[in-house]
Amino acid sequence: MGASQSTESNLTAGIQRHLSKIVVAPSFAASLFFVYGFILWTGYMAFSKSRMLPVWDWAGLRQYERLWQMERWHVAIENLFIFGGLFIVACLVIGCLLAVLLDQRIRAEGVLRTIFLYPMALSFIVTGTVWKWLLNPGLGLESAMHDLGWTSFKFDWLINSDMAIYTVVIAAVWQASGFVMAMFLAALRGVDQDIIRAAYMDGASLPRIYFGIIIPSIRPVFLSAIVVLAHLAVKSFDLVIALTGGGPGYSSDLPATFMYTMAFQRNQLGVGAASAMMMLATVMAIIVPYLYSELRGGKKNG
C-alpha cells in the first residue's frame, strides 16, 4: 500500500510540476517578447535606415556614426558623467553621514527617518516641479535672499546653460539621499557589537571605531548603493524633463532625454534606437558584473 501511494503521489507531483511550468509560462513568454524581443527589435532598428518611419533596410553602422557625430549626444554623455558622478558622491556622503548620526540612540529616530526618506515616495515630476519653483531666478531662493538683505545673491543656474545640469544634481540628491541613508542604517544595525566593544576596551576613540572598524565592515553596502545610484542616474529622465526640459537649448540633456527627443519629436528613429542601445550597454556594464558576484556570493553563504 505504501508503495502504491508513493507512486500515486509521484504521479500527482509530476502533474503538479507541469502545472507549475504552465503557470509561469505566460509571464516567461511576455518577458521573452517584451524584454528580449524588444531589445533585439531596437537593436535591429539601430542598424536600419529608419528615420521618420521604421523601415527594415539595412544601413550597417550608419545610425551609430550619425549618433556619435551629433554634438547633442556628446553633451548628453558629458552631462551623464557630471550628473552621475556628483549625484552618487553626494548621496553616499549625505546618506552615510545621516545614518551614522541617526545610529546614536536618537530620541525621535522614527520621525527623522520618515522625514529623510519621504522624497523617495514622490514622483520625479513632482520633485522637478518644486525645485523649478525654488530655483526660479525671479521669485525663488534668489529673491528670498534679496529680501533678507543679501542683495548681491545671484542664483540663475536654471537658465544658465553652463550650470543647468547642476540643478538636476541638487534635486536628485534631495530625492535619493534618504534612501541611501536607509540602506546604510540597516547595515550599521547589523555590525557585530562585540568587535566594537572590544575596540573600545582597547581604548579606541569613536571616530577610530567608525573609520577603522564599522565603515570597512559595511563595504558591500557602498557597492550596492553605488550600483543602485548609477542605475538611477543612467535612467534619469523625468526629473530633467520637469526641471529643465533638457534646456536651456539642450545643455542639460541626458542620454534618456536625448533618446526620447530623437525618437518621439525629431523623427530620428534610427538614431534614437542607437542611443537606446548605448544606454542598455552602459547599464549592463554596471549591473551584470554586480549581479553575477551577488548571486555567486549568495550561493556561497548558503
Binding site: 527623522l112 516641479t129 529673491s143 529622465f237
Partner: protein, 295 residues
C-alpha cells in the same frame, strides 16, 4: 550601533555638547528635506498677488484654497481645461488593475518557482529578473508600434499592459525571495494529503503572504503612479496619467504663470504616494531595498 554615550572616553560635559551638536545637525537636515514640501504647501495657499509681492519663504498672510480648486477643476492641460481631476482618475484606472494583476502574477510565479521547482526554474527566474534592470528607452520604440497594432495606442488599457509586463520581474522577485524562506515541508505535507497546486496556493500559501503582498502592492503602486516615461510615450491627450498632466500644466507657456496652481497640482499628484508612505512606511522601505538590486 556605536553611539557617543556608550563608547566615549571623554568627560560627561563634552558628551552633552556633542549630543547637542548632533541633534542640531539632524534637525538642520530635517529642515532641508522638509523645506520644499513646506514651500510647496505655503505657495499653493497664497494668491498670485501675494506670491509676486512676498517672498518664497514667507507663510501666506491670507489662506486661500482657490489654487487647489482651480488645479483640480479648471487647470488647462494642453487645450483641454478640465482640471487635473480627469487625469487623477486616469491614473487610478491605470494603477489599480496594473497593481493587482502584476501582484497576483508575481505571487503565483514566485510560488511555482520555489515550491514546485521544475528543471530550469533558476534560469527562468534569472531571465525574468533581467527585465528589472533594462533602461526602458530600449523598449519604447517597439512598444509604441505593438500598442498601435493592438489598437491600444493612447489608451489606459495599453498602459495597464505595459506596467504589468515591466512590473512582473519585480513582483516575481519579491514573492520568490519571500517563498524561498517558507519551509517546503508545508507544501509537501499538503501534497501528501492530496491537495493540488492551486488548493495549496489559495489555502496555505496566500494566507501567510500578507506582508509580501503589502510590499508588492505598495512598490507597484508607487512605481506606476509615479511613472512618467511610459505615460508620456504611450498615452496622450485625455488618457494621459496624472504625472504627464502635471508636467503639461507646469510647462504651459501661454497665459499668466500660476505658481500657486502648479504647486497645488504637484501636491495633488504627490498626495496618494505620500499617503501610502506615511501609512505603510515600513513596507515601502522593504520594497525599496528588495527591489533595488538584491538578487
Amino acid at each position: 550601533m556605536a553611539d557617543i554615550q556608550t563608547y566615549s572616553h571623554d568627560a560627561g560635559w563634552k558628551n552633552v555638547v556633542l549630543r547637542g551638536l548632533l541633534y542640531l545637525v539632524l534637525i538642520l537636515f530635517a529642515l532641508y528635506y522638509l523645506f520644499p514640501l513646506i514651500v510647496m504647501i505655503s505657495t499653493s495657499l497664497k494668491s498670485l498677488d501675494e506670491i509676486r509681492e512676498g517672498s518664497l519663504v514667507s507663510l501666506p498672510r491670507v489662506i486661500t484654497f482657490d489654487a487647489w480648486n482651480y488645479a483640480w477643476n479648471e487647470a488647462c492641460v494642453g487645450v483641454e481645461c478640465t482640471g487635473i481631476k480627469l487625469y487623477f482618475w486616469n491614473s487610478v484606472k491605470m494603477a489599480i488593475p496594473a497593481v493587482l494583476i502584476s501582484t497576483f502574477l508575481g505571487a503565483i510565479n514566485g510560488y511555482a518557482l520555489t515550491k514546485f521547482r521544475f528543471k530550469g526554474a533558476n534560469i527562468v527566474f534569472a531571465l525574468l529578473l533581467f527585465g528589472c534592470f533594462i533602461p526602458f528607452q530600449v523598449v519604447l520604440l517597439p512598444m509604441s508600434q505593438v500598442l498601435g497594432k493592438l489598437g491600444l495606442a493612447s489608451s489606459t488599457s495599453g498602459l495597464v499592459m505595459v506596467h504589468v509586463v515591466y512590473g512582473l520581474c519585480f513582483t516575481t522577485l519579491f514573492f520568490r525571495n519571500y517563498y524561498v524562506s517558507i519551509p517546503d515541508e508545508l507544501v509537501k505535507a499538503a501534497t501528501i494529503d492530496g491537495a493540488g497546486f492551486f488548493t495549496i496556493f489559495w489555502r496555505i500559501i496566500l494566507p501567510i503572504s500578507t506582508p509580501i503582498i503589502v510590499v508588492s502592492v505598495i512598490w507597484q503602486f508607487t512605481q506606476i503612479w509615479n511613472d512618467f516615461l511610459f505615460g508620456a510615450s504611450f498615452a496622450s491627450g485625455a488618457n494621459a496619467p496624472m504625472t504627464v498632466a502635471l508636467n503639461n500644466i507646469v510647462n504651459t507657456t501661454t497665459g499668466v504663470k500660476q505658481y500657486n496652481v502648479d504647486m497645488a497640482a504637484a501636491l495633488l499628484t504627490g498626495l496618494p504616494t505620500l499617503l501610502v508612505y506615511v501609512l505603510a512606511g515600513k513596507y515601502f522601505v522593504r520594497g525599496l531595498t528588495a527591489g533595488s538590486v538584491k538578487g
